[in-house]
């Protein structure tokens, strides 16, 4: 180990130290405990500065991790997501008097896990990063210890997560067995030079690895847990749950596929094709029937996983860029949408049904406008960034000229058009229907920055996308 190794993980180290400080504060501090959130934000800011202050590229810790524009792009998304989750949590936790240091500490640990997933250049790190992301989430989903729904969601998430981890690990075992390596480059080397024990074993390993990813990003049929877990988790956690793991899962998935398995595409593309088509269709069609906003957004996020799977399937430079753009926009938009849901939610998990949104425009014009913007962007209307994300991903698929890809895009477009229906339902309720009670909704100022970032990204990058496009292109470039 050398200093440069240590430097390469400084942002993670900063977050870990902050998390430990939070744990100490939890013991020392008496309520009110507003400082927790600020400490966590300070840690994230420090990590962000370190991320940029150390202009290092290359592989570290004996090739375990790789730093490049790709990992930096994603780390920034992760840190923004984490900061947003912290800000949303402040007013949310205050409602239930559960403001605790563990909450923020676990959030930071999960963020470290995501960052390692994006940096990973070895299946060992990928696996540990995935678990470091998952285990804090199991706990956070069950954070409301006295609510049965929260307990139940946590148990389901943990048992099914562990179940799918079993397949994931068996996949790694088979890959290791067949290629004798866990390093991304070494695996590709073994496949290309045919140094495998058995090509069938490599493929089986890849197939099982895919199960782990598919579970994490909630592709059908591995998505069954998602709606239940999203519904049962505290809404502030749902916001994090529907963005962080999905972005991290897709990023790691894309990186593994492009660095190690690109040459075997012809053996497995059909699987991803079917999963993508199924995911978007099931996600959208089911979302139409949901009246609970959390469940509706859960199925919506399933559907978005389907669109993103298109980018993974295509696997070209363009599609990788499209995915970077899509992920950045998706993360901020979904986080903001759940943030609004979290703020509107009443004390005992009330106001989660669509009827609770009637006339919201009158009770809180700001939240209604933000929510509308988020819905419009998720639905993919121009000129929002959500439209551009879809456009980049789908046009990359069409540009391959492959008939199957084009059909998949047609399915995706039909789906995203149908999805407009359920995205507009809350909008109609908010603007077109009379509120049940007219009292203005109290609005916490703490969460405002989250929504401003949402506006900035959704509209700003929707109309003037160049900045995001440039960093996305650079990020995608590091993979090839």
């Amino acid at each position: 180990m050398s200093w440069s190794d240590l430097n390469s993980t400084l942002p993670e180290l900063a977050l870990a130290v902050t998390a430990l400080i939070l744990l100490i504060l939890e013991v020392v501090k008496e309520p009110p405990r507003a400082q927790f959130a600020w400490t966590a934000l300070g840690g994230i800011a420090l990590a962000l500065v370190l991320e940029f202050a150390l202009p290092i590229e290359g592989q570290f810790y004996n090739g375990m991790i790789a730093l490049d524009h790709f990992s930096r792009f994603l780390n920034v998304i992760f840190m923004i997501t984490a900061a947003g989750a912290v800000l949303i949590a402040v007013p949310y936790l205050r409602k239930s008097l559960e403001e605790r240091g563990e909450y923020y500490a676990l959030l930071l640990f999960a963020t470290i896990g995501m960052m390692f997933m994006a940096k990973a250049h070895d299946l060992t790190i990928l696996f540990l990063g995935l678990e470091l992301l998952s285990i804090p989430l199991y706990i956070l989903v069950g954070f409301y210890r006295h609510r049965v729904r929260s307990n139940e969601a946590s148990l389901k998430y943990l048992l099914l997560g562990a179940f799918s981890t079993g397949f994931f690990l068996f996949g790694i075992a088979l890959l290791y067995g067949s290629t004798g390596a866990t390093h991304y480059d070494a695996i590709r080397q073994a496949i290309v030079s045919d140094g495998q024990l058995s090509p069938a074993m490599t493929l089986a390993g890849f197939g099982l690895l895919l199960v782990g990813f598919a579970f994490k990003v909630a592709l059908v049929p591995f998505h069954m847990y998602a709606p239940d877990v999203y519904e049962g988790a505290p809404t502030a956690i749902t916001a994090f749950l529907s963005t962080g793991p999905k972005v991290a899962g897709f990023a790691a998935f894309l990186k593994v596929i492009i660095t190690s398995f690109a040459v075997t595409t012809q053996h497995w593309w059909g699987i991803v094709w079917v999963l993508a088509a199924l995911t978007m269709t099931v996600g959208n069609v089911t979302a139409i029937r949901q009246d609970n906003l959390k469940r509706m957004l859960a199925f919506s996020s399933v559907a978005h996983a389907g669109y993103l799977a298109v980018a993974v399937l295509v696997g070209t430079y363009d599609s990788a860029f499209g995915m970077m753009f899509y992920l950045a926009v998706y993360a901020v938009t979904t986080l903001g949408a759940f943030g609004v849901v979290a703020l509107i939610e009443g004390e005992e998990e009330t106001s989660l049904e669509i009827d609770g949104y009637r006339g919201l425009a009158r009770r809180s014009p700001f939240l209604a406008a933000i929510f509308t913007l988020a819905m419009v962007s998720l639905a993919g209307f121009p000129p929002t960034a959500g439209f551009l994300g879809k456009y980049f991903v789908f046009s990359a698929a069409v540009d391959t000229g492959n008939t199957w890809n084009i059909w998949l895009v047609v399915i995706a477009i039909l789906n995203s058009l149908i999805s407009v229906y359920y995205y507009l339902r809350p909008v109609v309720a908010m603007y077109m229907q009379e509120p049940a009670d007219e009292t203005p909704l109290p609005m916490s100022r703490v969460a405002v920055p989250v929504f401003l970032v949402l506006v900035l990204i959704v509209l700003g990058f929707g109309i003037f996308p160049m900045m995001l496009v440039k960093s996305g292109v650079a990020a995608a470039g590091s993979l090839f």
Binding site: E131, I135, Y138, G166, F170
Partner: protein, 101 residues
Amino acid sequence: MVVPLYHILAFAGLLFTIGVVGVLFRRNAIIVFMSVEIMLNAVNLAFVAFSRYHGNVNGQVFVFFIMTLAAAEVAVGLAIIVSLFRNLRTSDISEIRLMKH
């Protein structure tokens, strides 16, 4: 010792499947959890066999990490089961389903 690699893999596969069957069949969350542990152990067996076959210690190191994970997961999982038991007085997962449809 002359054991074909394929046989060990077959044992690992069978053990893994027994774990899967346990997850699918049992209604007690604790037993389901134990079945997941069986699955992880099947993976470990495969790793050790491959490590032996390749003459490469990496596989065994990986097993070490899987054990770490197992310990962490079991601790958290049992804590969740305990906290659920406090609220519901059961660990039977067929009775733990408020959320559906």
